[in-house]
Amino acid sequence: MDLSYSPEEQAFQKEVRQFLADELPEDIAARVKAGGEVSKKDTERWHAILQARGWLAQTWPEEHGGPGWGPVERHIFDEEAARAYAPRILPFGLQMLGPVLIKFGSDEQKAHYLPRILDGTDWWCQGYSEPGAGSDLASLKTKAVREGDEYVVNGQKTWTTLGQHADWIFCLVRTDGSGKPQEGISFLLIDMNTPGIEVRPIRLIEGGHEVNEVFFTDVRVPAENLVWEENDGWTVAKYLLTHERTGIAGVGFSIAAFERVKALAERTMRGGKRLIDDPLFAARLAEVEMDLEAMKIFNLRMLAEAQRVGHPGVETSMLKIRGTEVRQALNDLYRRALGPAAALIPGEAPGGNAALVAPEDEAAAASYFNNRKISIFGGSNEIQKNILTKAMLEL
C-alpha cells in the first residue's frame, strides 16, 4: 500500500499549483469563493487560459488536443483547482460531447466540431432531460422526422444548464416510436440559432437562473448533424452517462467547502466565545471532516483501480452518493454557522456599518439550497442506489 503520489505525480501537482497561482485571475477566484454566479465571460477567459496551456480538454486523447492525463492527473487538477477557487470547466462540450464525437463521430464531425470546442467558438449545452421523464431518460418524446436531407424536430427539453448562453445543443431525439423505449433514439447536433427554437429560463429555488427549458417547433436540422447511426442513439447516450465518472465524488469542492465552514466558525462569535470552540458545533464539523477524509481515500482507491483496469468501477456510484452527502452536510453547517444572518438574500445585504456577514459568506444559504440539486441531477442518489443494487447485490 502506498497512498502517496508518485514522484511524477507530485511534480505534476506542483506544476498545477504553480499554474493556478500564476494564471488564475484573482477577480474570478474571488467571485467563485463568494459562491456567486460565474459569468459566461469568466468561464470563457478561464477556458482560454487552460487551452493556452493545453489543459482544457482533460479527457481527450492527445491526438485531438487533450493533455494525455490519466485519472490521477485529472483528480490532482480537480482538487487543486477547487482549493484555488477556480471556476469549473464547463462539461458540456469538453467532457460530454467531445468524447462522444471522438468515439462515435464521423471524421468530418470531428474535424469540424472539436477545434471549435477547444477554441471557444461553440458553447454547447445538453438536450437530454424532458419534462415528466426525470431519471427515466429513455422515455423521451422529442421527435425528429426525416424529410429529405433534414430532420424536423418537435418537442421539449428541460434542465438545460446554461442553455441561455449556448450556440449549439446536442440532443437525444426519438426517430422511431415503434419499439422499446431504448430503441429508436438518435443523437443529434442542433444549432441554437435555427428557427423554431425557444429558450425559456427556469428559476431555481434560491432565485438563480442556470437551467432552462428548450422548445423545438418544426426545427429543421441537416441530416449530417446525426452522430452515429439513426435509432442507435441509446448506445451513445449510455456511453456519455457512464464515461469519465472519476471526478464524481467532487472531493475538491468538499475540501473547499470544509475550509470555508471552518474559517467562518473561527471568526464567528456566539455569546462571548468563538463558534469553533463550541463543543457541539465542533463535534458536528469533526464528524463531517472524518467522512470527507475517508472519502478522499475512497476516491483515491477508485482512481488507482481505474488506472489499473482502464475504467472506474461501480464504486463511482457510492462516491456520488457519499460525495453529495458530504457536500450537502458542509453546506448545511456553513449556513447554520451564520446564524440569523444566513437568511439575507445574497447581493441585497445592507452595506456600511450595517453589514451582516463578510461578502464571501453571503451566499451560504443560497448555495445550500442550490446544492440540493447535486443529489438529484446527474442520476439521483436513488438511481445510484438502484444501480448499485443491481451490480453489487446481484439481486
Partner: protein
C-alpha cells in the same frame, strides 16, 4: 385529556385559513414575500379585521386568547399558507405591552406593527448578552429584527442600571437598514445612535425571555403547518408522477421514507402541543430544537422525493422548503436549544 381545538379557535383558524387562501395565493405571496416592504397593507388589514391579533392577548387584558393553543391555531395556518406578514413581532410584543400596562388597542386593531429588537450581532439569540445601553436614548445595534420594514414601533432591549430593560422606539425616529430574507419576508438592522426611546419595563429580563418563548412557539406552529403542506404535496406528487412505467409512489424505498417523514411530523406536532400547554422555557427549547431539525429534514426529503421540479422557483414547494429550513435560524437554532436543554442536566 382532549386534543380537539375549542370551537372558538377552530372558527378563528378556519376563517384565517379561508382568508389566506383567497388573499395570499402563492403568486401574490411571493410578490409580497420577496419585495420590500415585504408587507401587504390590505392583507394585513384583512388579517386584523378577522381578529387574529386578539388571539395574542388574554380576555382579561382585552383580547380573546393569549394561550399557547391560540398561537398554535393562528401560526399553523400562517405556515400552511406561507404567509409572510410580520405577525411574529405582534405575537412577541403582545405579552410585553400587556405586562407594561400599555394601551393594546393599536396592536389589536393592526394599526401599530411591532417588531422585537433584542439580538445583537455577536450574540444572536441571547438577549442577556446584549451590550446596548439604555436611558432616554439608546445607542447600539440590534440585528435580525423581523418585520423591520413594516414596523411602526420597535420594542428594544437594553441594559439600564445593571438590568435588562425594555424600551419603545418609534419607527420614524429609528435608523433601519432593511434586508430581504431568502425564505421570504423582511428583517432589518436597527442602528441606534442616541435614538429617542421610552422605557416600558425597567426590569424586563423575565418578560423578554417569556416573549421570546412565545415567538419560538409561533415558529414551531408555523413549521408544523408548513410541514403538513409539504407532506400532503409530496404524497400527491408520488401518487400522480410516473417513472419507468409506474407511479413513483409504488417504490418501497420512497414509501418508507414517506412514513418516516409523516412520523417525524407527528412527533414535531406533539412536542409543539406540549410546549403550547406548558409554556415553560424547557418545553419550548425542546420543541424549537426538535421542530428545527425535523423541519430541515422534511424540507430536504420533500425536495429529494420530488426531484428537479422541487428545486424550481415556480413550484410552490421550493418556497415552503426554504421557509422550513430558515426558520430554524430564528430565535435560536436547534443546537442552541439542545444545548439549553442539556445544560439543565448539569
Amino acid at each position: 385529556m382532549n386534543f380537539e381545538m375549542t370551537d372558538d379557535r377552530r372558527m378563528l383558524a378556519d376563517s384565517l385559513g379561508k382568508l389566506l387562501g383567497s388573499h395570499f395565493g402563492i403568486e401574490h405571496r411571493n410578490s409580497v414575500a420577496y419585495e420590500a416592504p415585504f408587507h401587504d397593507k390590505a392583507g394585513w388589514k384583512a388579517l386584523a379585521e378577522i381578529g387574529i391579533l386578539y388571539a395574542f392577548i388574554s380576555e382579561d387584558a382585552g383580547g380573546m386568547g393569549g394561550s399557547g393553543f391560540d398561537l398554535l391555531a393562528v401560526f399553523e395556518q400562517m405556515g400552511a399558507a406561507l404567509c409572510p406578514e410580520p405577525l411574529l413581532g405582534a405575537a412577541m410584543a403582545a405579552p410585553l405591552l400587556a405586562e407594561a400596562g400599555e394601551d393594546l388597542e393599536p396592536l389589536l386593531s393592526g394599526e401599530a406593527i411591532y417588531a422585537l429588537a433584542v439580538d445583537e450581532p455577536d450574540a444572536p439569540w441571547d438577549a442577556d448578552a446584549g451590550t446596548t445601553e439604555g436611558g432616554d436614548t439608546l445607542t447600539g445595534r440590534k440585528t435580525a429584527v423581523y418585520g423591520a420594514n413594516a414596523a411602526t414601533h420597535f420594542l428594544v432591549s437594553a441594559r439600564q442600571a445593571g438590568k435588562l430593560s425594555l424600551f419603545e422606539v418609534k419607527a420614524e425616529q429609528a435608523a433601519v437598514s432593511p434586508w430581504g430574507m431568502i425564505d421570504g419576508g423582511g428583517a432589518g438592522e436597527l442602528m441606534l445612535d442616541a435614538t429617542p426611546a421610552r422605557c416600558l419595563l425597567p426590569d424586563a429580563g423575565e418578560a423578554i425571555a417569556a416573549a421570546l418563548d412565545w415567538g419560538r412557539l409561533a415558529l414551531c406552529a408555523e413549521a408544523v403547518g408548513a410541514m403538513d403542506w409539504c407532506y400532503a404535496t409530496t404524497l400527491d406528487y408520488l401518487k400522480s408522477r410516473k417513472q419507468f412505467g409506474r407511479e413513483i409512489g409504488s417504490f418501497q424505498a420512497l414509501q418508507h421514507r414517506m412514513v418516516e417523514m409523516k412520523t417525524a411530523i407527528e412527533q414535531a406536532r406533539s412536542i409543539t402541543i406540549l410546549a403550547a400547554d406548558r409554556m415553560d422555557s424547557r418545553s419550548v427549547a425542546m420543541a424549537k430544537s426538535l421542530v428545527g431539525r425535523t423541519a430541515r429534514k422534511v424540507s430536504e426529503e420533500a425536495i429529494q422525493l420530488h426531484g428537479g421540479i422541487g428545486m424550481t422557483w415556480e413550484y410552490p414547494l421550493s418556497h415552503y422548503a426554504k421557509r422550513l429550513v430558515m426558520l430554524d435560524a430564528q430565535l435560536g437554532d436547534a443546537d442552541f436549544h439542545t444545548a439549553r436543554v442539556a445544560a439543565r442536566y448539569a
